[in-house]
């Protein structure tokens, strides 16, 4: 074991939504490579508290890669250099003497609340506009009453792993949320229960996406490279195909 890493952190500070904000430089010392990235920020915040400075605001909740709350643009990559969430990123991915630039997700649809915390309510509203299946309430139906073909079930499960973190938007040069919308469209569109609302859903969700001010997709692929859940680009093809079908059906 060495004495740990010394790092220079360039971090975006912004006191509130209306503040202009700017990059501030901090030094941290003796960071263990076993620490998670957020623990490293916790260390910095303890130092700031001790000095009587305002700690850095950043989002996190589960810290085990399943809730989608953590964010952070780390050295120009959403969730940093590994294919994982920021909370599951460890300091062994960095080395002593590194300079690390940390910024919030940048999108007009994700306004900064404070420092590194952004409001991702736009994604919730996209879900609200159509990312659901309407079902009568009552006791849970028998699980095998509606059979789902194996391949469709697998695809739906795989894309249902999207945690709504917004890394795809953060990484996209167009600020588009197409990977997120595509994941939801594919997830619900593969299941029999999702069929009745399939084509009104895609129009409503894309309409809300555009209304929130996200950009249009140009199939660059930085979203899929940044996605911690490895959602593939073919969900965007599926999204486009479903929208094309909806167009034909007069939605």
């Amino acid at each position: 074991m060495t004495d740990g890493m010394n790092l220079t952190l360039n971090i975006w500070r912004q006191t509130g939504p209306d503040d202009k904000g700017s990059i501030h430089s901090y030094q941290v010392e003796g960071i263990s490579s076993d620490m998670s990235f957020l623990e490293m920020l916790d260390v910095l915040n303890e130092q700031l508290n001790a000095r009587g400075e305002e700690p850095i605001a950043f989002d996190s909740d589960c810290r085990e890669g399943i809730c989608g709350m953590c964010s952070l643009m780390i050295n120009g990559e959403a969730h940093g250099p590994e294919v994982t969430t920021t909370c599951q990123l460890h300091m062994r991915s960095f080395k002593d003497g590194d300079t690390i630039t940390i910024e919030p997700w940048r999108a007009s649809a994700f306004p900064v609340i404070k420092d590194l915390v952004v409001d991702r309510g736009a994604l919730d509203r996209i879900i609200q506009s159509g990312g659901y299946i309407s079902a009568n309430t009552g006791s849970a139906p028998e699980a095998n009453s509606v059979p789902v073909p194996r391949d469709k079930a697998m695809r739906a499960f795989n894309v249902a792993t999207c945690i709504g973190c917004g890394a795809c938007v953060a990484a996209c040069p167009n600020g588009s949320a197409s990977l997120f919308v595509g994941a939801k469209i594919t997830h619900l569109g593969e299941l029999p229960q999702g069929q009745p609302e399939r084509y009104s859903r895609v129009v409503d969700m894309v309409g809300q996406h555009d209304h929130e001010g996200f950009g249009g997709c140009t199939n660059i692929g930085e979203c899929a490279a940044a996605c911690p859940k490895e959602i593939p680009l073919d969900v965007i093809s599926q999204l486009n195909k479903d929208l094309r079908t909806a167009l034909k059906q007069g939605h």
């Binding site: 309510g121 609200q128 129009v203 809300q208 660059i220 490279a225 999204l239």
Partner: protein, 237 residues
């Protein structure tokens, strides 16, 4: 934590498929594929230069008679011209609309941004497209509308105008640079169009679309480049 800061968190009502950003992409993809069809045919015609003066001029002349007597003289040519002009207006209009939307979607840029997962061509689409547009204007002045012979020679003989043009090294250079841009545009554009049209729903079909995209880029950019290179090298004279 603070309250959400989105100014107008509203749900929209009555969304229409035809009004979405994806509908714009459909227009872009279809007009782009119209161009791909055209440049393939155009490239085939250019390669006639290797068959000599008479074969090339005869081809140019034949284009004017195509479809006669069903169509009037130059009828086919004018249908093509109008079709291409419409496609160009649609393509550029949609490009500008999506460009502006993208700029509004990220008003504050990152201090540091890597482009993991992107091929360079994909990030050259807008500036590259603009370059192609500027080249296109010059190209039409050069060979079609204006007929400019930079060597001051005759302009009513298509073959001789071509040879006189590409005998000048910097004309060939401009042309080759434009073809490199076109190649890059197609390298990403054809794949992007497949994706936009929703025909790349599996890992396999995505791999196939990318191969097709690269192949078309090489064939088209390479095929167009052969004639000016051959003229400059003295193989065509």
């Amino acid at each position: 934590m603070a309250d959400p800061v989105t100014k107008h968190p509203t749900l929209i009502e009555g969304a229409r498929a035809s009004r979405t950003s994806i509908a714009l992409k459909f227009l872009m993809a279809v007009s782009g594929l119209v161009f791909v069809g055209f440049v393939l045919g155009h490239m085939y015609g250019n390669l006639k230069a290797f068959a000599g003066h008479d074969a090339f001029n005869e081809y140019a002349h034949h284009l004017r008679e195509l479809g006669e007597p069903m169509l009037p003289h130059e009828g086919f040519l004018w249908i093509m011209r109008v079709g291409l002009l419409v496609a160009l207006v649609v393509h550029v209009w949609a490009a500008v609309a999506l460009w502006r939307r993208a700029q509004k979607a990220r008003p504050i840029k990152y201090v540091v941004k890597k482009h993991t997962g992107a091929i360079p061509a994909s990030r050259l689409m807008r500036t590259g497209g603009l370059t192609i547009l500027i080249f296109l204007v010059w190209h039409l002045i050069n060979f079609t509308i204006g007929k400019v012979n930079v060597q001051g020679g005759e302009t009513d003989d298509p073959y001789n105008l071509l040879v006189d043009t590409f005998d000048v090294w910097w004309m060939t250079l401009i042309y080759l640079a434009a073809m490199a841009m076109l190649g890059a545009h197609l390298h990403h554009g054809v794949w992007s169009a497949c994706q936009t049209l929703g025909i790349t729903g599996t890992a396999q079909s995505r791999a196939r679309a990318k191969t097709l995209s690269l192949a078309l880029a090489i064939v088209i950019a390479g095929g167009f480049s052969l004639v000016p290179i051959a003229v400059l090298a003295g193989i065509i004279d």
